[in-house]
């Protein structure tokens, strides 16, 4: 077979992404081109394109098993993508691992909460500050002046961050013994402590009652405004998604089936089909 004679198929790059107008002056903080992964032949995510503005709150929705969490795992390099590129602040992240990704500016929370359960709330946040408040192992063992200075700063920063969620009174409690909602908030604070440019929230409202969700929504917006960061969230609670997300991508079977503003998504027949199935009368067509 002569490869040279085959017709080359041209694809458009970058994707037709949308970002909020206020962020348009700068390049998007996160740009993903044709991202894909397959696990031994099973295609979990394919041709995933997205751009996230610097201060955008972006929603990632889709039915269960659509590949939303897999996308988070790809963005944080828990899985190595089999295709595609992820640009963080214009820089390629191809050779980075999870740790380097976090240092470069992506922090995340987990669907099934992953706290350092045996440690105190305060220590959990201080661990989030690991790369911000630094001193060497020797300084720590020998208790040099820098140790006390840094520890004081770490404590102040931790309390400051806990205060955003009114959690300072829980600082000395064991993380694993907190109520569910507080554990979710703590994970949020811990991710925030790493000083990210992009914050990935995996089902932040799961298990919360309507009033807690309401509070979470205002907190997410508050954090975006205060820290000027981008937030990407996976969520099934449509009130939250439609209430605070500015751009939404809908995934089904590992592919984006719709992208747009909340109004556009709500009116999109493909989205309704993915969630509710086709109308009986339409099946004949």
């Amino acid at each position: 077979m002569n490869a040279a004679k085959e017709k080359t198929i041209m694809v458009p790059l970058p994707s037709q992404a949308i970002i909020p107008e206020r962020d348009a002056a700068k390049k998007p903080i996160l740009e993903v081109h044709r991202l894909g992964i397959n696990f031994g032949g099973l295609v979990a995510v394919e041709d995933f394109n997205i751009a996230v503005g610097r201060t955008e709150i972006c929603g990632l929705i889709g039915p269960n098993g659509a590949g939303k969490t897999t996308i988070f795992n790809l963005l944080t390099k828990v899985y190595k993508p089999t295709s595609g590129a992820i640009l963080l602040d214009g820089k390629d992240t191809a050779n980075m691992n999870t740790v380097q990704i976090n240092r470069a500016g992506i922090a995340r929370t987990f669907q099934n909460i992953r706290l350092f359960r045996s440690l105190s709330v305060e220590d959990n946040v201080k661990i989030g500050l690991h790369n911000e408040v630094r001193y060497s192992m020797g300084t720590g063992i020998l208790r040099l002046p820098k140790f006390f200075k840094s520890e004081r700063r770490a404590r102040e920063r931790a309390m400051e961050l806990l205060d955003i969620f009114d959690m300072t009174h829980l600082a000395s409690h064991r993380a694993g013994s907190l109520p569910y909602g507080a554990q979710r908030r703590l994970e949020f604070v811990r991710a925030l402590a790493t000083n990210p440019k992009v914050l990935l929230l995996d089902e932040p409202a799961a298990g919360m009652n309507p009033s807690e969700t309401e509070e979470l929504m205002s907190n997410i917006e508050k954090i975006r405004d205060r820290f000027q960061i981008a937030i990407v969230l996976i969520e099934h609670d449509m009130r939250l998604v439609m209430g605070i997300c500015e751009g939404i991508a809908v995934i089904n079977y590992g592919k984006i089936i719709a992208k747009g503003t909340p109004e556009e998504i709500q009116a999109n027949p493909l989205v309704i089909e993915a969630y509710l199935g086709k109308k009986k009368g339409d099946e004949a067509c």
Partner: protein
């Protein structure tokens, strides 16, 4: 919800206090002649075992990885320590510098240097073994460390080391004669016979100081940025990486620190006897130290100290009941395991940080005021 009971600093002071008080009490007992010679002979081994238990607790309790070859690091430290001490005393005899000869003539300096070199060598071994081993987790890590301990034992069993009158080391894996030592030479390590002709320079006070140094290193490490990172890796590796903590780096840090302290303890231990065989540091010793750690409580440094002391003294005390000695030892072990899970007693022997047991404050204030 549970609050953490004591501030770490207060808790640590208690541990230091316990060790210092115990030292003073034993010193008084020795001075007043109220201590049996058998027990007095056990004092240095006890201090060595305490250091072993504390250092293994760093790997097992704080890092959360099961290591079954801790005696291997003790072995490396022991034989390095013996060689160092012998070379130093040879050097003291041959050197023309009077002050150096005088300084090295002092046993405590030779002991300190032997422990330093023993620890360093064990730390280097810890690093070399850590490179492949720390890619593994759980059972696999346990299997590889177990194999390491056995390998060290068998290697030490076939190696002959001697130094001639000028303090030059000769090594052979064939026989003692193969060393071809000239007149005035000395065999340090004689294969299966182990290290022979050691000058006993260890002392109870030296062991006490080593415990204090170990406590200082381990407790300060645990309660610092690096210690938090190590505990984070233990609790959740994926979450630790997601907040930018290099798991490899901190697992290695804990593992090498643990090996180094075990090496120093090995040097202290070996220099307390006139001969030491490699078989002493076998799998059984590794398990014995693990028993100290498990019984004292994972991550509980004070518990390790108490368990190591009690379980080393116990067989001596039980010598009076010769026939049922090991039976009684086993029964006591089982009883301790059962009693340790009793909540009333647990409040007395509270454990550090890990595994809960932080409910005393809750009980004191009747569980009130803790709700969010």
């Amino acid at each position: 919800m549970r609050r953490l009971r004591l501030r770490p600093s207060t808790d640590n002071l208690l541990t230091y206090g316990l060790v210092i008080v115990a030292y003073i009490v034993i010193r008084i007992l020795i001075a007043s002649g109220n201590i049996s010679s058998a027990l007095q002979g056990q004092l240095v081994p006890i201090t060595a075992y305490i250091v072993m238990a504390i250092s293994l607790n760093l790997t097992v309790g704080v890092l959360g990885e099961l290591s079954l070859g801790h005696a291997g690091f003790m072995s490396v430290g022991a034989f390095t320590g013996v060689i160092t001490a012998t070379l130093l005393s040879t050097f003291a005899d041959t050197t023309s510098l009077e002050w150096l000869s005088l300084a090295l003539g002092m046993p405590w300096l030779r002991l300190a240097l032997a422990m330093l070199f023993g620890g360093t060598m064990a730390g280097i071994f810890g690093f070399l073994i850590g490179v492949p081993v720390l890619r593994l987790h759980g059972d696999y890590l346990a299997i590889v460390t177990l194999a390491f301990g056995e390998i060290i034992k068998n290697v030490m069993n076939v190696i002959y080391i001697g130094c001639d009158a000028n303090g030059i080391l000769r090594i052979s894996a064939v026989s003692a004669n193969d060393l071809q030592l000239s007149e005035g030479g000395k065999i340090i390590l004689s294969g299966p016979m182990g290290a022979i002709g050691i000058t006993k320079i260890s002392s109870f006070t030296a062991g006490f100081i080593l415990i204090l140094i170990t406590l200082f290193v381990v407790l300060n490490l645990i309660n610092s940025r690096a210690g938090r990172a190590i505990k984070a890796v233990r609790d959740d590796k994926i979450a630790a990486e997601s907040v930018g903590i290099s798991t490899w780096r901190y697992r290695m840090m804990a593992f090498v620190t643990s090996a180094t302290l075990a090496g120093a303890a090995g040097a202290l231990y070996a220099l307390n006897y006139s001969t030491v065989v490699a078989r002493k540091f076998d799998f059984n010793t590794s398990i014995l130290i693990l028993v100290f750690v498990v019984l004292g409580g994972m991550g509980n440094i004070r518990g390790s100290i108490i368990a190591a002391t009690v379980l080393t003294v116990l067989p001596e005390v039980l010598r009076a009941f010769n026939e049922v000695r090991m039976l009684a030892y086993a029964v006591i072990l089982i009883l301790v395991m059962l009693i340790r899970n009793n909540s009333t007693l647990r409040r007395l022997f509270r454990r550090n940080g890990r595994n809960g047991a932080m409910r005393k404050k809750n009980l004191l204030n009747g569980g009130k005021g803790d709700e969010a």
